[in-house]
């Protein structure tokens, strides 16, 4: 049986605070991988570019061609207008695969596009492969709190639509070569718009999810109470991180069960994990021992958790952390 050819791949990317969003850079890496594997043509579509710098970055990152919208309606009705443009592009290129980053924008647009085209959708894939038997695409994704690897097969309907899980691929870097940027307008037959933006605000700095946070401040029994956790939260906000905990704070009612890290809670893998007043039972460590760097703050040098530490601080967290918060504030002021 002949393998199904993947001739055209479209990546749908979004702008970040500066240039291209991190998730979109990762998406470009994924796209380049499949381009090499399947010999496909790789297009990238940037629906919204308010700052105007994302398209330039994108054109230097590796896709064969970049598409951008130039319609002013996109600012007022981004949800519907961007999908209308995308559908037009999919039809024009006869795309076989359309990939999004699994951000809010990507998840939203992917579902809209798949619904309009009545085609298959998989969210948060970690890889795509071709079925050796019939050449249909197979999406690989993590299921059940990221503990299981699942594979699901797409049917023959085209295109295949998927969002790519964050932090699976390394972000693509800019090169000196730049490809062309083509403008596409809104299709003539666009339906009336039902969703109208009334205000666009800077987002309130939400604490990131434990699973996606790059920095996690975790607390155990030693934190002592809600006041202690408020202090950890302050530290986490300064570092743009999230707060987690072990089982005892949940049992005491200081913290929500959703924030528990460990075998019966979340599994995390931040760049830096700072554990405060944690004993270090396997029930907790099994949920965080893949962290890149682990800092342990405890005033008992016999604490088994120090065995996991990249860097251990022997001291009372209630004294160390206020100093830490103050020093980080000073650092930020100096920047």
């Amino acid at each position: 049986m002949s393998s199904r050819e993947i001739k055209n791949i479209i990546l749908v990317v979004e702008e970040g605070a500066e240039g291209l969003a991190d998730i979109s850079r990762q998406l470009v890496t994924a796209g380049l991988k499949y381009k090499t594997e399947w010999g496909s043509h790789l297009s990238a579509f940037l629906p919204v570019d308010m700052n105007g710098s994302a398209a330039t970055t994108l054109a230097k990152s590796g896709p064969d061609v970049v598409y951008q919208t130039d319609d002013t309606l996109i600012k007022k009705h981004p949800h519907e207008a961007s999908v209308a443009c995308l559908i037009q592009l999919i039809n024009k290129l006869k795309a076989d695969v359309v990939l999004f980053g699994a951000s809010e924008l990507g998840t939203d647009m992917a579902a809209r596009a798949a619904a309009r085209l009545e085609t298959g959708l998989l969210q948060k894939i970690i890889d795509l492969e071709l079925d050796p038997e019939d050449g249909n695409l197979v999406g690989v994704f993590m299921g059940f709190q990221d503990q299981l690897i699942c594979k699901a097969k797409f049917g023959v309907s085209k295109p295949v639509i998927a969002t790519v899980k964050p932090k699976v691929f390394t972000p693509a870097t800019e090169t000196n070569d730049s490809v062309g940027v083509e403008k596409i307008g809104l299709p003539q037959d666009s339906q009336e718009f039902r969703i109208t933006i009334t205000q666009s605000l800077e987002p309130v700095a939400d604490m990131p999810d434990l699973e996606s946070a790059e920095v996690i401040i975790a607390g155990g029994q030693g934190v002592g109470g809600e006041d202690g956790f408020a202090m950890l939260e302050e530290l986490a906000r300064l570092l743009g991180g999230a707060v987690g905990c072990t089982l005892p704070p949940v049992e005491q009612g200081w913290m929500d069960r959703d924030l528990m890290i460990g075998s019966t809670g979340k599994t995390v893998r931040p760049k830096v994990y700072i554990g405060c007043g944690i004993h270090g039972d396997v029930y907790h460590t099994s949920g965080m021992d893949e962290s890149e760097r682990i800092v342990v703050i405890n005033d008992n040098d016999k604490t088994p958790f120090f065995d996991f530490a990249t860097c251990g601080l022997l001291g009372d967290l209630h004294e160390v952390i206020p100093h830490l918060i103050e020093k980080i504030r000073n650092e930020m002021r100096n920047l």
Partner: protein, 304 residues
């Protein structure tokens, strides 16, 4: 179940929403494949990695008894229900609860009635198993048509496994409704609803024409509690069960047959056990010295 590695700790018994696992006299767990709903909740909890999942559609759960009298711990998303109830309390109208699942889910639907919902319907048919977004949306679409449509469809942002509930997009598309996921706040206005959503790095405020389909985030509201009075009031109410026949759905349109994406395999992730790091340094000194040392490290690690 791998009996050789199971230590009979009983964590699977605790976490199973359907009360399937049992710890036997041999001090190992036993999971009845007939009663298992395949939700996978127990797998990550198992400390010895002894639970394996096989991919097959378990139709038995739909024909079995009503489960354990202790009831189920598989609650419906209370934030989504609260969002609907709050609007109804202000504007009037009726709140319908639609849930899809095995007969045991009836208790969860009943809980929504206790919260104050007007009608509860359980979409219950073993033929629904294996449906992807497309097929599940068809089931929902038929159900909506049967109740005569609605102005506002509110669903949780994530399903029981934490995955985005994208089937709502299909329902919205087919029924000509506006679709907005990741809703953080919701207010009613004339002929529209005003919602907030994080999108493309911005917090967007927008007006959305009715009819609309929204999926709402957990933090959108504080769900109301359940009172004994209310549970007495809904005692006599029935939760209707609708199967594919009642929804005029052919078995070729739903389940695996009606799906564009079909699950092929499930594999447990090999887990590394407790990696200890040797060679980490232990810093001692006054709190201020320690804090300064950590600041230096954080700079070195580029998180500061």
């Amino acid at each position: 179940m791998d009996v050789a590695t199971c230590v009979g700790c009983g964590v699977c018994v605790k976490v199973c929403p359907f009360n399937v696992p049992l710890v036997t006299k041999k001090e190992t767990a036993e999971i009845s494949q007939k009663r298992c709903q395949g939700c996978g909740v127990c797998v990550p909890y198992c400390k010895t990695n002894s639970i394996y999942m096989h991919y097959s559609l378990n139709t038995e759960a739909y024909s079995s008894d009503k489960g354990d009298p202790r009831g189920l711990r598989y609650p419906l998303d209370k934030n989504a229900i609260e969002a609907g109830l709050a609007l109804r309390d202000m504007l009037g109208g009726k709140v319908w609860i639609l849930a899809e699942g095995p007969p045991q889910f009836e208790e969860s639907v009943r809980e929504a009635l206790v919260m104050g919902a007007d009608e509860g319907i359980l979409l219950c048919d073993s033929k629904f198993l294996g449906s992807d977004h497309v097929a599940s949306s068809l089931i929902l679409e038929q159900a909506f048509k049967k109740i005569g449509g609605c102005d506002l469809l509110i669903a949780p942002q994530r399903n029981g496994h934490g995955e985005p509930l994208s089937s709502v997009a299909w329902v919205a598309e087919r029924l000509g409704m506006s679709y907005i996921p990741f809703v953080k706040s919701l207010k009613s206005a004339e002929e529209t609803v005003l919602v907030q959503q994080n999108w493309g790095g911005k917090l967007l405020e927008m007006s959305v024409s009715l009819p609309a389909a929204l999926t709402v985030e957990r933090g959108i509201n504080e769900p109301r509690g359940l009172s004994l009075m209310a549970s007495a009031r809904v005692m006599g109410k029935t939760v209707s069960h609708w199967s594919s026949e009642e929804l005029n759905l052919d078995s070729s349109q739903i389940g695996e047959a009606g799906s564009h994406v079909r699950l092929k395999s499930i594999q447990a992730l090999p887990r590394s056990k407790g990696k200890k790091r040797k060679g980490g340094d232990m810093l001692k000194g006054s709190p201020e010295v320690l804090a300064q040392a950590l600041v230096e490290r954080l700079k070195e690690w580029r998180v500061l």
